[in-house]
């Protein structure tokens, strides 16, 4: 767990024509095999950060290293092979005309032999439970299914890190659940490292570690449980606290004796049941 896969050192980036840095001297590490969530409201610089990590933008100062290799214009194609990215809009990242073509797109770019491609496409689609949709066209798929195909497309390239850039924000609750469950499974089976960038704290609560961004810098860092202790501060940053946490705080204020915070509805329900059975 303490093996830093990606390191950011004093990274700063400013968009042209803007006065303030979108990312303001940020440093942190991403460890192998963890699920790191970066949260922040719009304009906190979290999406810029994702683009920097994928070499879609280059920092004006500071350094990003991936497995000890600095990310520069020369190494960017190597790095993109190691860091795969899933974007927000399911439609606007679907390049192929069918599911299998889309998964193969990245492999074709990497110049992988056809026989190998066939194996990898099938394997990647199996991982995300989309193997029965091989020849399906994108407009016949739901948002969640499209995002799973996008994940398969990234997965086929066997990256070390998958960045989910607001990948669930345009999905309905069912689609979101599908995607998040898939991600969890992938982490377990493949040991991929996940970086999810989101403003949805409910999604972030499933991560191993959280970084809260505000105005381009790291506001706070810790496990979801630690971060959610901040409560009021998070609300001030424009983040919406998950229902279960709000509920348990309110209950505690009313004198219901519950153990500290509840990250999921399930935890809260279990705790309440235990309380009732003791009464």
């Amino acid at each position: 767990m303490n093996n830093a896969l990606v390191q950011l050192e004093q990274v700063a980036f400013k968009y042209e024509g803007q006065e303030k840095n979108a990312v303001d001297y940020v440093s942190f590490d991403i460890y192998e095999g963890e699920w790191l969530a970066i949260v922040g409201h719009n304009g906190s610089g979290k999406s810029t950060l994702a683009k920097l990590l994928n070499g879609l933008l280059f920092p004006q100062s500071g350094r990003i290293t991936v497995q000890g290799q600095p990310l520069t214009e020369e190494t960017v194609w190597d790095v993109r092979g190691q860091i795969g990215m899933v974007f927000q809009n399911p439609d606007n990242q679907f390049v192929g005309t069918t599911v299998q073509d889309d998964v193969a797109f990245g492999l074709e770019n990497a110049g992988i032999a056809r026989e190998e491609m066939l194996v990898r496409v099938e394997d990647a689609l199996k991982r995300v439970n989309m193997e029965q949709f091989l020849n399906q066209e994108p407009h016949h798929l739901s948002g969640g299914q499209k995002q799973r195909v996008a994940i398969a497309g990234v997965l086929a390239l066997r990256p070390r890190v998958i960045i989910l850039d607001e990948s669930t924000s345009m999905l309905d609750p069912k689609g979101r659940e599908e995607v998040l469950v898939t991600v969890r499974e992938l982490m377990k089976e493949r040991g991929v490292t996940v970086l999810s960038i989101t403003h949805d704290l409910e999604e972030a609560s499933r991560a191993d570690r959280m970084i809260v961004m505000n105005q381009g810098s790291v506001y706070s860092e810790g496990t979801p449980r630690e971060i959610f202790q901040l409560e009021e501060e998070l609300v001030k940053l424009g983040l919406d606290i998950p229902f279960s946490i709000k509920m348990s705080t309110l209950l505690q204020e009313r004198g219901v004796s519950l153990s500290q915070t509840h990250l999921t509805d399930e935890e809260l329900v279990n705790d309440l049941c235990r309380l009732i059975s003791r009464m």
């Binding site: 390049v95 074709e108 770019n109 407009h139 990234v154 390239l157």
Partner: protein, 265 residues
């Protein structure tokens, strides 16, 4: 209204036409487009009509679907027919009513030109209906590959084409959505004078344009992030296989050409 459009649409099925190599189908259509102009008498039209029907039959596309989808083109064919009917003033006068005069050659031309138009539309529709857009693109890419020598960006053009094809249904859906949204805000698309209806297109097109540009930008970013850097060193996932039945199709169109050359007057 959008559901009926069949241009550029693919109908999945298992038919002899579906199983042909896209290159063979493309060459067939390409040759067909030229040789249809060889037809100039009844015999040649019968031959070319029979060929069209044969292809149609082999594609197993339901006739109702085809006719429904081609309705907008039908009006165009009708228009061409009447244009020739009234404005070709050769041969014997067949019919006269006030200022309307119909001549023998006008009727002939009218029927021939409309038939030519109909056959062309049918054959090209069959191509798109039985071949996935991506196969067409693959076919075109391989057929045009020799032109790379003359610096024609074949790969880029093929990719552009496959992406536009991929986005047709997406943009159609979006058009439908915007239409509904604008209709809910009081825009009349299907009633009122023509002038107003044309004006009503503007609030439809502008949001569509804006979102297309946004899509294009996001797509470009996604492609770059997935390692796309032009055609160099790229491998292909799709494999085209030329089989004997493809050669037969080409032989058939050759036979048709010879027949037309022999039968034309």
């Amino acid at each position: 209204m959008m559901d009926k459009m069949i241009f550029g649409r693919y109908v999945p099925a298992e038919s002899p036409m579906h199983r042909l190599d896209p290159r063979a189908k493309l060459l067939m259509v390409f040759i067909f487009v030229f040789i249809i102009f060889l037809a100039n008498n009844i015999a040649t039209y019968v031959v070319i009509g029979a060929f069209t029907l044969l292809i149609l039959n082999m594609s197993k596309i339901p006739a109702g679907f085809l006719i429904g989808g081609l309705r907008p083109v039908f009006y165009l064919i009708l228009f061409t027919f009447f244009l020739h009917l009234f404005f070709t003033k050769e041969g014997d006068l067949l019919f006269k009513w006030n200022f309307i005069e119909v001549y023998e050659n006008g009727l002939r031309q009218g029927i021939f030109i409309s038939l030519r138009f109909a056959f062309l539309i049918l054959i090209t529709s069959i191509l798109t209906l039985t071949t996935t857009p991506i196969s067409i693109t693959d076919g075109l890419e391989t057929l045009f590959n020799p032109l790379k020598k003359w610096k024609l960006p074949v790969h880029e053009l093929a990719l552009m084409m496959s992406i536009s094809l991929r986005f047709i249904p997406t943009l159609m859906e979006e058009t439908d959505k915007i239409m509904k949204a604008q209709a809910a805000r009081g825009t009349e698309f299907s009633t009122g004078p023509i002038k107003n209806r044309i004006k009503a297109i503007v609030p439809l097109l502008i949001p569509l344009f804006v979102s297309s540009f946004k899509r294009a930008e996001e797509l470009a970013t996604a492609m770059e992030s997935r390692g796309y850097r032009g055609g160099e060193g790229r491998t292909k996932y799709r494999l085209l296989k030329w089989e004997s039945k493809d050669t037969i199709l080409l032989a058939a169109i050759m036979v048709l050409t010879v027949l037309l050359l022999l039968l034309r007057s």
